[in-house]
Amino acid sequence: MSRYIFPFTLAFTALSLLGALLQPQNGLTNLALVASVALVSLGKIPTAWRSGLLAILALALTVLLRLNPSDKIAFYGLLGVLMACFLLPNLSHLVRVALGVAILFIAVPIAGLSNSFLFELGIQIGIFAALALGLNVVVGQAGLLDLGFAAFFAVGAYTWGIFGSPQAAEFIQGFPPQGLPGNYLYLFMALAIITAAITGVLIGLPALRLRGDYLAIVTLGLGEVVRILANNLDKPLNITNGPQGITPVNRPESGLLGDILRLVGAEQIYGKPIDTYITYAFFFYLLVLLVIAVVLLVNIRLANSRFGRAWVAIREDEIAAKAMGIPLLPTKLLAFATGAAFSGVMGAIFAAKQTFVSPESFTLQASINILAFVILGGMGSIGGAVVGAAAVTVLNIGILKDFSDLLNTWRQTGVTILGYNMANLPPQLNPAKYERLVFGLILILMMIFRPEGLIPEQRHRAEMQEARQEAQEGGVK
């Protein structure tokens, strides 16, 4: 059976490429291309072929995206190639880096400059990926269940939100009335790391003396405390402007980027002026990419350092770790502070990107969503955290919305499907509104069928297999 996979993949990929060549605007050929990406990535084929095919597919998808920038299916295909070269074992480093850089810095910008939604999606994925990576340090690597993680994101966002807007002048006399100029964001990204890390230690000091479920409920409670403070500190001193939130938050200058774009002739290529809106989308896309790259690097280095090993030791067996001379509280606090720092820096960027901060973004729901990214991706696995964030974000703001639009068109045109006239479908059934339903279903099904996550950490995979075997042998009920 398995010897047919390679020829089949080859044939299928060739056919879908041919289809794309003949009918570039057809949705079906796009789907076929996405299917080829999946086949090439997951099937059993030689590594050299895999690299080559991925590169060709990436090229084809990029061309399709350039022809039709609103073609989301092609974009998802590109994301798939990106994930594949980020995660697949055995690919050579050169291929990985070359393909990754080409997609992130050439393919996406080419399409994104005429359809800023792609940048928006990229930015969201980047922000959520950083949050997932941060929580992954705490829950996945150190095994400390934190249900109030959005608090650190909030601290980062408010750190810049308060000082980079007219808000600070409300309670500090002589502060510039419009707040600090946008370029101070870079300084405040560093400050946000510090404030978030300090908050992490402050929350961790009482919470980390507790274990397991108690830790979960206390972090949850303290996370809510941070949100309630943000929601109500508009009196006696107006620090956070309460539930209305803070707006406008200043953004750094992006004029240089716009000039560069005009210089390389983007206006002629796209046949329209490069305005500040699209420049800012591109700007934040690049900024988020840069930060996520740094976060990834720090995370990988940390995971393999003395601290990373100490975290895993604590997760696996606290008492044994203590007996081996690992100081429990400081090591746990370091995990909390590291995770907090990752999300704090993204918080500052989030505030600037939205030009708006309000307590609404940092609810318990947000904390649980971040936890779900980590679990979906695979606890403790760095690649998993990124994939989990990407998958859920694409699903939430991409696929579900598309599906809603599709249903709406069906409803309006009155298509009949399986004998049911879609025009009779109640207008309340709008899938984009029910993301929790889909999300909940995914969580349940994942936990039942693949609890180790999409990209499991090796140690976890081994544990889960062991447990499964034991259950099959009937040793443990």
Binding site: V139, L145, P206, A207, R209, L210, R211, G212, D213, Y214, A216, I217, V218, L220, G221, L222, E224, V225, I228, L229, N231, N232, K235, P236, I319, A320, L364, I368, L371, A372, I375, M379, P426, Q428, L429, K433, Y434, R436, L437, F439, G440, L441, I442, L443, I444, M447, I448, P451, H460, E463, M464, A467, R468, E470, A471, V476, K477
Partner: protein
């Protein structure tokens, strides 16, 4: 406000805290019982509670229409609503256990996060299913309980306190349910089996107890209590949304932890304490801080108390300190 004024409203505040506390206590029991047998924070319990409130609301809407009431007596109507909510929520809890948690148990995963994430997933699923139901049936997000004069009549009590008839009903129903539960757990065979399973599932199964059946029954009992609490909560606050289980659920879980999770009297006491903390801080914080920190901070107060208590007594008020074995 003078000290005398503050003291004058104290009895009324305590009474209101008591009503809230009883609702929390009943929900907390659901959390604590499931935690006792499975060691799982059943996040879906807040939705079981919310569904109870929705079922109660539907009973009032169906049979209590003021123009053509099927059941004209509001007290009887409330009784019917309570029974339906208890059965409905109990069934829902059993279904959740059967289809979401049991498959995990059968697979024997030792990771405690797996069932908890499943619980969160179930909670999301139930919230949005209820939302779809509310959208299709009522075409709205907020659902209002019907109000009845007979239930809202205000009675005068000593110390210048007042209570509505529904307030008395809440206390009576809660006390009855709490006594019934205590009887069930301490005096019946099922209760004995539940206690056995929560102490040691494996040994209990050697003594001829089928853990699956007992776990299922535990969910039934906890879910029914949650459903009853849901109706009482709806009666008290009159407004129900698909997400209105989340916050009370969180508070109830906090109560359970406060009292010592897994401990049945602890959950009741924890709920009553939390109810008092919440209303007392809600009433008095604005006066004590000159209006700088108002009622909004009552939740902060509740959570900080929990943190403080856990620092000094990590096992909760009634919990037993389990020493870690290596």
């Amino acid at each position: 406000m003078t000290v005398a004024d503050l003291l004058a409203i104290l009895p009324q505040t305590i009474l209101e805290g008591l009503l809230l506390g009883f609702v929390y206590a009943m929900v907390a029991l659901g959390y604590t019982m499931v935690y006792g047998v499975l060691g799982l924070i059943n996040f879906a319990h807040s939705e079981v509670f919310m569904i109870g409130a929705v079922i109660g609301l539907e009973v009032f809407r169906f049979w209590g229409n003021p123009e053509a009431p099927v059941i004209p007596n509001p007290f009887l109507l409330l009784l019917v609503a309570l029974v339906f909510a208890a059965v409905g929520s109990g069934t829902m809890a059993v279904l959740v256990e059967r289809f979401a948690y049991r498959p995990l148990r059968k697979r024997g995963s030792k990771n405690i996060l797996v069932p908890m994430i499943t619980a969160i997933g179930v909670s999301f699923l139930l919230q949005d299913l209820t939302r779809i139901y509310a959208a299709l049936r009522h075409n709205e997000f907020n659902m209002q309980y019907r109000t009845y004069d007979a239930l809202n009549t205000t009675l005068l009590l000593p110390f210048e306190t007042t209570i509505q008839v529904k307030g008395i009903l809440i206390i009576v129903v809660s006390l009855l349910m709490l006594f019934a539960l205590t009887y069930l757990v301490n005096r019946t065979k099922l209760g004995k089996a539940i206690r056995a399973v929560s102490q040691d599932m494996q040994t209990a199964s050697l003594m001829g107890i089928n853990p699956d059946v007992i776990i299922s029954r535990t969910f039934l009992v906890g879910g029914s209590l949650g459903g009853v609490a849901g109706v009482l909560f709806g009666l008290l606050y009159t407004n129900v949304t698909p997400y209105s289980g989340v916050l009370p659920g969180l508070k109830a879980f906090t109560s359970a932890v406060l009292g010592g999770i897994g401990n049945i009297p602890g959950a009741t006491v924890g709920g009553l304490i939390l109810g008092q903390l919440e209303t007392l801080s809600g009433t008095y914080l604005p006066f004590l801080t000159n209006g700088n920190f108002g009622t909004e901070y009552k939740d902060v107060f509740a959570f900080l108390t929990l943190v403080l208590l856990l620092l000094f007594r990590p096992q909760g008020i009634f919990g037993q300190n389990v020493s870690e074995k290596v």
